[in-house]
Amino acid sequence: MSVTLRYFAWVRERIGKTDEVVDLPADIRTVGDVVAWLAGRGEEYAHAFANPKVVRAAIDRAHVRADTAVAGAREIAFFPPMTGG
């Protein structure tokens, strides 16, 4: 499945890119699976996802949890806890 990944704040800085299009392996079902797969793609990804519980995610611009299914997602974003306001 082809999907756009977007990164924000220190997740973006650690990975070294703002976004990328990837083909997810067929056995990936959930947001947590994507995180585990990304963490194995290189040092910069391992650094960004060193503490996966801290990193938040959104699918198609809505907040999701680690156990949310990614089937049908067009855009998955990863970012630290938000500090707006």
């Binding site: 704040a9 611009r61 630290p80 500090t83 707006g84 306001g85």
Partner: protein
């Protein structure tokens, strides 16, 4: 409902006046302005750099405004959030709520600010004397937002 994300400053008085202009049914307008300050937890802050997720930020704020409109009898809501580099004294965020009576306007404004802090996709970096650092999320902000959760949402948030 008006939701705007912008680099430029906003005019608090003009935004508040715009909500009640030409109407005679509004009895209360509450404005909250968040302002960039020059210190945080004992260190100096010379600037804030605000990053956001374009598209999602507008949608997420609009979702919370819609939720506020369900919970309180609001007659108007305006939320403006700035992004980019801001220096101490600059406005960051504006929430304006209008209602027939003050309680709804006060509560809805506080609800919106609590959710903006923890759910709207914005991230702050501080320029400090020692260098630039990402602002860490505060547990107190999560606690403040959590008090508005209804029991079913509390389970979903965990």
């Amino acid at each position: 409902m008006t939701v705007r994300l912008q680099r430029e400053d906003f005019d608090v008085a003009a935004e508040a006046a715009a909500l009640s202009r030409g109407r005679t049914d509004i009895g209360a307008v509450v404005t909250f302005t968040g302002i960039c300050r020059d210190h945080e937890a004992g260190h100096g802050v010379s600037a804030l750099i605000l990053e956001h997720y374009p598209g999602m930020a507008e949608e997420e704020i609009a979702r919370h405004v819609a939720e506020a409109e369900k919970r309180w009898p609001l007659l108007g809501v305006t939320v403006i959030h700035r992004y980019g580099r801001l220096v101490p004294g600059d406005n960051i965020v504006l929430v304006v709520t209008a209602s027939t009576h003050r309680a709804a306007a006060f509560e809805a404004a506080e609800f919106l600010m609590d959710y903006l802090k923890t759910r709207a996709p914005f991230w702050k970096q501080e320029e400090r004397p020692q260098g630039t650092a990402w602002v860490e999320a505060k547990e107190a902000d999560d606690t403040a937002a959590g008090r508005w959760d209804r029991p079913s949402e509390r389970d979903a948030a965990e």
